[in-house]
Subunit: 452 residues, 2 copies
């Protein structure tokens, strides 16, 4: 008993590493397939990088050392070290930077790539924070320069993905870091404090105006009324065109004006890409915490589930490969953290895991004497692209139907002596309980009709 219990404990996986049952996995995989489909629809090419990079690569781009998992071998041969110089990547941007630096002479620029892979972060496991999760990234990397239209294409890709996923209304919130930088400079915040100011402003939605005001005042010495005025300026709600008009009317120096011009160009571009106004807005409080963004920034929110936070974020950065090369390579990209998103959507009932198998048809083994007939009909269905399982165990029909039900196979085929004599199969729709006899030669067409 003790032995049994300890074995049971043993099979508990480490916390923070989510694992799905087959029905959830199907929903999850369909989500990933849709993301990939849209990425390819826009002509992004897939790459996959190793799970590991050299430790020096990961720290060169400023990874948090506490979050980085390094690799050692459990045992080493004589004269070998068990420690390696490799660690698991914590995002897909650093590997992209390394990939582009390494292979740039073999790539075509602007380089449009997507990457769907696991990343690992050694954080304390907590609700909604995972140590392993999948990111779906696209980035476009220019050699020397990259047109601002690329910044407008990203929201268009997001728009297509989330429309196709059909998980409810969403809004892509857009801002520009140059605009914010100019604004802070104009408000007398010194250059060395601006990164910090951006980080604090970015928390507005989470901690509220009062806390942001107090942080700005405590950490950066900004007077409270000035801090409040700044937040008012940034958070006043207006339509997109009103915001642009308002911003254009402000005299806040060259950097600010550049940011406004970029933002206006992005808005014009987004509209020309066919994204409806209801699906995006300007939000001057969006700053993105990450240091490397330099221009346009994006966040995406599900209107009905704001508590999920941003489901797709990204932005423009001046130089992807600064750590590895002297050549300037500006880029713009977005990332969807699908693991957290899909698990949330399942929990909220937006995504409904309802089938534990891809099989559309289960051919039962009612009478082993007719096994050849069963296998042949399965072959016919598979040749027509219908996912078909044949039940191979010797069990009573009742058990076989229970099996189909538990996995939610929609259609079951049954043929005993009578059906075989008549040259038919009984096709039972497990969703409705209705059963009809179908001549063997008509099975493919009939099943395809029932599955529609």
């Amino acid at each position: 008993m003790t032995k049994h219990k300890s074995r049971k404990d043993m099979v508990q996986p480490p916390s923070g590493f989510p694992e799905l049952l087959p029905a959830e996995q199907i929903v999850y995989q369909k989500f990933l397939d849709t993301v990939r489909e849209v990425y390819e629809l826009f002509g992004f090419a897939q790459i996959q990088t190793p799970a590991v990079e050299r430790v020096g690569i990961l720290t060169a781009k400023g990874g948090d050392e506490k979050e980085i998992y390094t690799l050692s071998r459990l045992a080493a041969g004589p004269g070998e070290k068990s420690q390696t110089d490799m660690a698991l990547h914590f995002d897909l941007t650093v590997p992209l930077a390394r990939y582009v630096s390494q292979h740039k002479e073999k790539l075509t620029f602007p380089f449009r790539r997507f990457q769907i892979q696991s990343v690992w972060r050694g954080e304390r496991a907590q609700a909604d924070r995972y140590r392993e999760f999948v990111q779906c990234d696209i980035d476009v990397i220019g050699r020397g320069s990259l047109d601002i239209m690329t910044d407008a294409e990203m929201p268009s890709v997001i728009y297509h993905i989330f429309r196709k996923l059909d998980i409810g209304p969403f809004v892509i919130r857009i801002n520009n870091r140059r605009l914010l930088q100019g604004f802070f400079e104009h408000n007398g915040i010194c250059a060395s404090d601006i990164a910090n100011a951006l980080r604090i402003i970015d928390k507005l939605e989470k901690i509220g105006t009062d806390s942001v005001v107090s942080e700005l005042s405590m950490q950066l010495g900004i007077k409270e009324d000035e801090a409040r005025a700044m937040i008012d300026f940034l958070s006043t709600q207006r339509t997109t065109d009103e915001t642009l008009d308002f911003l254009r009317s402000q005299q806040m120096g060259e950097t600010f004006a550049e940011g406004v011009a970029e933002l206006a160009a992005v808005v014009e571009g987004i509209r020309s890409f066919g994204v409806e106004d209801a699906y995006f807005c300007l939000d001057l409080t969006i700053a993105r915490g990450l240091g490397y963004y330099t221009g346009t920034v994006y966040e995406t929110q599900l209107v009905d589930f704001p508590q999920v936070g941003s489901i797709c974020s990204g932005g423009r950065y001046d130089n992807l490969t600064s750590a590895f090369s002297d050549e300037k390579m500006p880029g713009v990209g977005i990332s969807i953290g699908v693991t957290r998103l899909v698990l949330k959507l399942i929990k909220e009932g937006v995504l409904k895991p309802d089938r534990a198998t891809p099989a559309d048809v289960l051919v039962t083994m009612m009478d082993a004497r007719y096994r050849m007939k069963y296998l042949r009909v399965a072959e016919q269905l598979r040749s027509a692209g219908v996912n078909t399982e044949v039940y191979l165990e010797s069990k009573r029909l009742g058990n076989q139907l229970k099996y189909a039900n538990r996995k939610s196979v929609p259609i079951v085929l049954i043929a005993g002596e009578d059906e075989i004599a008549k040259g038919v199969f009984q096709a039972k729709d497990m969703r409705t309980g209705k059963a009809i006899d179908v001549a063997t030669k008509d099975i493919v067409a009939t099943i395809q009709g029932m599955l529609k």
Copy 2:
């Protein structure tokens, strides 16, 4: 200069971790997609397990400690340990055993799952041996028992996959470990030596008869002429039916007879699954080195590339979860090591990476004044499922065509002032160089026709 050089060294990835360029990645991904498609066609459900398991899980099933990569955090907070009790999985069978043990009350048995994931092995990097590679596994796990027909279904899945992949003729070689065990027992090899005898016999193809004879004699004390007679017995070439007749005529005890009966049932099953005789054979020298196989074993060879070795292997095991549970869970499975296989097939010219993008169409930006028209035609094409990229940089048309050529985009759309005035786009087939004018409303149909 020195600085530049050291940076260049820095971006060399660790050896043994293969990485593909976009064109190779497309070929590789198509391969994976086909494998997944066939797995689903047979009603296997996907699962994915975390990259890591607890170290105790991995060693409980007998993993080689030198091959296991454990995880540590690069830095730890105050009072925290950097060492973890987690390690990267080295195959997908151990995670499956843990998954089934943990979730068995929520799964439906026989449990049919496929799993396509990376595995990691800390071996010395050498040609064709990778430290990270992708395996595509299917297994069927029974609770208590599992019909021998499942052993016959596996070759049928292999058959469909490699026919569909269209990489040349292949042969699935089938044997039975029980038969071999009975044969060795009958030949006076003691129980404790049989695993070793299987391991040695398994090397026959690699090291030849003489070396196997000498190993059997040196390591197990078998007389050389007896060893040679055993190898003769196992390696005599016969047709499938002749082999079965020959085996049935031998009196070598109960275990041997059980093995022969299983093998005969599997052959009958394979044929009823519709696998043509040219695609499988009995090969009594196939033993599979791994300790856990207990019945049917498989290997698959490309006829034109025998040097690639087995491209898909597997077998039957009596009890998947013995390390974690007292319940008997027999299973049968196969595994394709795709990374090594695809890289080999690319090297041999069987798979030809010819396109660096999924885009079928590039809409050029000939004149930015007509950007809206370009974006609109791209939208039309995407709505019809045609992967379409719009060139967004301000470059001369020549550069844009060069860009399309370098990535091997098959069709390019061009419209300047004249075309726009006439309401047409020029559709240029980059494969033939031919260009035609197409009315905007006919573009989708025309492009679809050109792509067929």
